[in-house]
Amino acid sequence: MDDNRTLIEIRDLVKHFGSVIALSGVSLSVRRGEVMCLLGDNGAGKSTLIKTLAGVHKPTSGDFLVEGKPVSFASPRDALDAGIATVYQDLAMIPLMSVTRNFFMGREPVKGVWPFRRVDFDHCDEVTREEMHKIGIDVRDPHQAVGTLSGGERQCVAIARAVYFGAKVLILDEPTSALGVAQTSMVLKYIHQVRQKGLGVIFITHNVRHAYAVGDRFTVLNRGKTLGTYAKSDIQIDELQNLMAGGKELQAVSAELGGMV
């Protein structure tokens, strides 16, 4: 098995929304067993990019290859079937539905033979509780509506779900943003584990420490274009931080606040 096989590759991807140009030529690749960090300022186009990879948006132009073969996903279901699991920044959860139902949405395990085929909800409840526990959340009642969970708890459901169903590539859009210290550590550990299992990971974050802690390569987006891709060995943490801010002048502020950002 070629361990360095490229899982996902995109070339010159362009995406317009009506008159808004969200991506104007982005190239990127993710390999097996690698964590690729996607960095960039607010509105740089990171979420748009990964939504295109996940089959939510159709690219306006550009190539998209999965394991070397050009693909064109008609829906997120195609992407999931191709082994790409995604945590969206807006989470893709149904507030009125229970935690369990959200966790297994679209991938429900069934039992029984046809006219009597049904979802194995006992099993689902158990898996949900277990996976949530692993990430550091005690779900009081897996039948609780997701809408009543706290922001962080909701984020954990989304992450646990993606990790549980991730097959080849795991895409995480700012997964740690709403998480507490303990949960964040947990997620970073997850990412590490997932990489070791040989999956490719795309990890979006604004926290340079989180990125540097788990990333192997860093791609920086700026205003819809790739600024460059850097291996961990080629770049220092503060250089990276400057790149992430799109080269804006941070000195003044940082100084004022004691360099704590």
């Binding site: 279901r77 959860m93 979802v119």
Partner: protein
């Protein structure tokens, strides 16, 4: 795995929290109202069957409408669909002289096709289903009139369908009464009322009621226990989120549109065989009543929330209120005032009870 941040709740609370059962409170209230104001004959066996028959026909539509509403869409064409599929069914039997089974299957096929068309237009155009199915409300209603006049040579009523249908097992599945043996035995043992001539006042359970109950159970099972059910909730709760999670939202919605059309066809077959005729006004405003029943039963108009059992009770409430008033002494001019007031009271009460029990704000 008990959490200290969870108060204990009683079993009653747990039960009442289910959207399925909220409408039950309203039903009980309405029943109490009639028990104290209406003629005693309302709650005899015959009286109850009499309430349930129209409720059953409405209920079959309401359950389908509820599923569709949970899935985030409306179908305003079901009333017209009842008229149109009734005409189609009648034409298959009387003009084509097809055997009953073939006619029924063909009717269902046409209905499913039309439902699928509705769904496809909604999905492809991304227009609100309200407006698309509204167009079909008019179109199908109009086609029923044109078709009837064409088929009968000028009349708006097509008759003699019952005679063409013949007798047999298939017919018994869709018309007449079920469990006749049981009722005959009960009457023979004087357990239920009899006419002076000795036949029981109720000879059996009308098949439409059996279909109604069966459909309610099936729909509940699908919603709560199957993958399709989860997809329906998801598609209605947030179609984008559902799609992003891999739910085939478009397929789910198309299937639901086909289901409502199918339910309309079922009601058409049941009523046409029952009445022996069909006319251009069949099913008039049934789409409206079906939505009312679903909403009384706790479905959210915005989708993603509701239940089939709720619609079941909603249809019975609606049926009981509209038939029940004829058992009372109120001047019939006040009928609509009472209907409105009772509906409002039933829903308010059910809401009040649920809030009380669950301790919501």
């Amino acid at each position: 795995m008990q959490d200290e941040r969870l108060r204990d709740v009683s079993l009653v609370t747990k039960i009442m929290r289910r959207p399925e059962l909220g409408a039950l409170a309203g039903l009980i209230l309405v029943a109490i109202f009639f028990a104290s104001t209406a003629d005693a004959s309302m709650f005899t066996l015959a009286g109850i069957m009499n309430i349930l028959s129209p409720a059953a026909q409405l209920g079959i539509l309401a359950i389908a409408a509820a599923l569709l509403m949970i899935g985030g869409e409306f179908d305003l064409s079901i009333g017209s669909m009842v008229a149109f599929t009734g005409l189609i069914f009648g034409a298959f039997l009387t003009l084509n002289s097809w055997p009953l089974l073939l006619a029924i299957v063909a009717t269902f096929a046409v209905a499913a096709l039309l439902g699928g068309l509705n769904g496809q237009i909604v999905i492809r155009s991304r227009l609100p289903s309200f407006i698309v199915t509204l167009a079909f409300l008019f179109i199908l209603r109009g086609l029923s009139l044109v078709g009837l006049k064409w088929a009968t040579g000028g009349s708006t009523q097509m008759r003699g369908i019952g005679d063409q249908a013949g007798e047999g097992l298939i017919r018994e599945l869709f018309s007449g009464v079920a469990f006749e043996g049981v009722f005959a035995w009960l009457a023979a043992n004087d357990l239920i009322g009899k006419f002076p001539n000795g036949t029981p006042t109720v000879t059996g359970v009308p098949v439409s009621i059996v279909w109604f109950v069966g459909f309610a159970l099936l729909a509940t099972w699908i919603l709560l226990r199957t993958r399709a059910g989860n997809w329906i909730f998801a598609a209605g709760g947030d179609p984008n989120a559902a799609r992003n999670s891999g739910v085939p939202v478009d397929r789910v919605k198309t299937a639901l549109f086909m289901l409502t059309a199918f339910a309309a066809a079922l009601v058409a077959v049941l009523t046409v065989l029952d009445a022996g005729s069909t006319d251009a006004r069949r099913g008039f405003q049934k789409e409206f009543e079906a939505i009312i029943a679903a909403v009384i039963g706790g479905c959210l108009l915005t989708g993603g929330y509701g239940s089939a059992i709720g619609a079941f009770f909603g249809a019975i409430i609606f049926g009981m209120v509209s038939i029940g008033l004829t058992y009372t002494r109120f001047d019939s001019d006040w009928f609509q005032v009472f209907l409105g007031a009772m509906l409002l009271l039933a829903v308010l009460f059910n809401n009040f009870i649920r809030r009380k029990v669950t301790g919501e704000r």
